[in-house]
Symmetry: C4
């Protein structure tokens, strides 16, 4: 247990934490902004494809830009927990990262609240389960989409060359995929921090548990599936302390 | 004939079969989910471009992610048959792959059935020939789009470097192209497994033969055209047993 | 003059001609298909972005796929003439290529005519100058967009590495750019062969000269600008005989 | 101070200035053209995603095409000022570049004025602060989006390999991101030259200061944040004289 405390005392460790904070902040800020309808009386005025690209391209671009600065960021408590379960991060590290991500998500939602007009404060990207779909179905959608995203995350970062040196591409693209599947049913969160930020700012908590349990279990299963499929099994790989 | 039975007994062979199953499942699940209209009384509420990107990006991302795990997947009975005709896979292999793809397509459509509300169960991505277009025309559209896609598949996997190390890009992009051409006429299946899954789940079989004969013939001609154009001719290349 | 006749007798030369034919055929087929409105009484039902991506992605994907087979294709009489003016192709070669492109464009439009219902035969992607815009303005739009596209074509093929080994990317992306600029005014042809095909099939020739003079002059100036900007000047570079 | 005057006398220096002019001209021309509504009585007829892609893809494609000709262009007075503040360009150089960019933006808007019908001259891409949003909020949106874009600019050009050799990708993608956030509130300028051109041509100056102060301060902070985050601090790096 000593080594982790030594690691935490290093400067580069806190740089990674800062990156998690900044990336999740920008991710929530830009993604949630894209979900604000132009006409608040017509929810159809949100272009579904725009939302998908906003979240996907933001993740893909920023994660890649921060790669040479602080290594592969997770930007997602579910992914961090999956990495903890497959023993890629230490439990203390993962706890601090999740904290940074949640605070980052809150900061992003807060900034969005600040720069949007009061009329639109009821539409700041809160994810909710749509009326005609059950709780279990919503759980299933979050579970599956996060499963795929986490698998893509592991695949991209373990094989940096396969996407032409563009490691963050699979994560970003699978976020786009997740939105084409889940947007009209659950809002396609795939990320507890992304759901937590707007929920706190707008104080809307209906079915919030779905956006924690679904992504976290999906991510854990995705990570474990990846480790077993690639034949590595649950051995210790220290991607980042 | 002994060598193929030996190959089948290897672990890596069944890993490839598992990959075909998983990839086709996710492809059908995400792609078909994107075709569900937000408003079931207004079929125009489906964003055509979203469907094209959903199928294209899913194919491109997942095929690339699974590349280091189990080699180039086919995800498509038509492509597998084309590879059989150009002697790139063995007849027994191809049979098992097609089976895995069809079961995968069924599983994807089944999961989609499970996570969508009952009101929308009539719109789970079944491909059908639109009213104002003849059977022969529908066949032609499926034939041409699959021809181009198969050509792109061969080209991408034979020349891994041309898309910047992104081998699955040409297949994914040509699926997007196929949707811009065929979506409003036939639903742009280009993949018998993708049509079979929703057809079984929704039990809608009108003109289903179009989605088998069209893609398969198109893919065979596409594969043969590629082999002759590149000057290779029908020689034996073992991309995957 | 002997060497060109010897070159023409080579097999690889006619392969390049065949590629020009096939590529232009698929380009016109897929691109023009995307311009067919779902509802023929509502021209706004065409998704502008879909058209841009259909033309752009088709060019980018197919040009790249055919690159290892028959070298960089032009797919465009305007580009071929520009390459003739900057002495990159021989006059006889360019003449045969233009012929192949025009026949390819006609074939693509003909196939599209064959696979579409009669009700939609009035909307097969014919480019026309919209009502509220003058002939000179239409010329200007075609001139500028083709200028940029040709510059990108030269830049991509002279510096294969700059787009990560994806030489056809700049051409394809600049076709998307051209459509966001010109689609609502002239249909953003940027390619005489793409305009010729549908014009013959639908027998609509109003303002057809705009789609020859505009792109050809734009491409010539774009090519010359590129040669002088890169400091090469009009020296002989034999990209393809 | 002598070295800068010597640098200015070199030919390559003025080539860079010419590139800044051309790139900003094309950027403003294509981007602003995409904002022209098809139906001028219905502002919703502008496809938001099309605008985002028009600006983003234009920046990404052209900046990459000009890279081997004249080095990394800035195309943006805000970025130039940020590079001045982080001591990457000389003060005289930056002044001349900003001038070239502003004249380029004006030229682009002027060409657009020339090729569009008179009916649409009121809609040539002028950025304005929308009614239901305060001045400070508009400033905040321009500040944040330009902050992210500048960070991505520095990151892409300092680490050419991270986007698979596609240095201009992060800038272009972050322009798309900025539009998904800011388009409905401020028009998502992120570039004083892009706002200046249409403002002069249409002679509309309401809240024009927002599009100078916001991007410039955001870019400066983005540049400084990048320098400190990467550990370089404000040392002299001569990217371009």
């Amino acid at each position: 247990m000593e080594s982790i405390f030594q690691a935490i005392r290093r400067f580069s460790y806190w740089k990674a934490v800062k990156c998690e904070f900044l990336l999740t902040m920008f991710y929530v800020l830009i993604g949630c902004a894209s979900t604000i309808p132009t006409d608040i009386h017509n929810k159809q005025s949100v272009n579904e494809l725009k939302v998908a690209f906003a979240f996907g391209i933001t993740c893909l671009t920023l994660m890649q830009c921060f790669l040479p600065i602080c290594g592969p960021a997770q930007m997602n408590p579910a992914v961090t927990i999956a990495m903890l379960c497959t023993r890629r991060v230490h439990v203390i590290t993962s706890f601090i990262h999740i904290l940074a991500q949640c605070v980052g998500g809150l900061a992003g939602a807060g900034i969005l609240y600040g720069v949007t007009p009061a009329r639109k404060h009821g539409h700041l990207g809160v994810t909710f389960v749509h009326n005609d779909i059950g709780r279990g179905q919503a759980f299933g959608i979050e579970f599956i989409t996060t499963f795929i995203m986490t698998f893509a995350y592991y695949s991209g970062h373990d094989n940096p060359g396969i996407f032409g040196g563009f490691q963050a591409a699979p994560v970003g693209l699978s976020i786009i995929m997740g939105h084409t599947l889940g947007w009209q049913f659950t809002g396609a969160s795939m990320n507890p921090a992304r759901s937590l930020g707007p929920a706190i700012v707008c104080n809307e908590w209906s079915d919030h548990w779905v956006y924690w349990i679904g992504p976290v279990l999906g991510a854990i299963l995705g990570g474990i599936t990846y480790e077993y499929t690639t034949g590595g099994g649950p051995e210790i790989k220290h991607l980042r302390r």
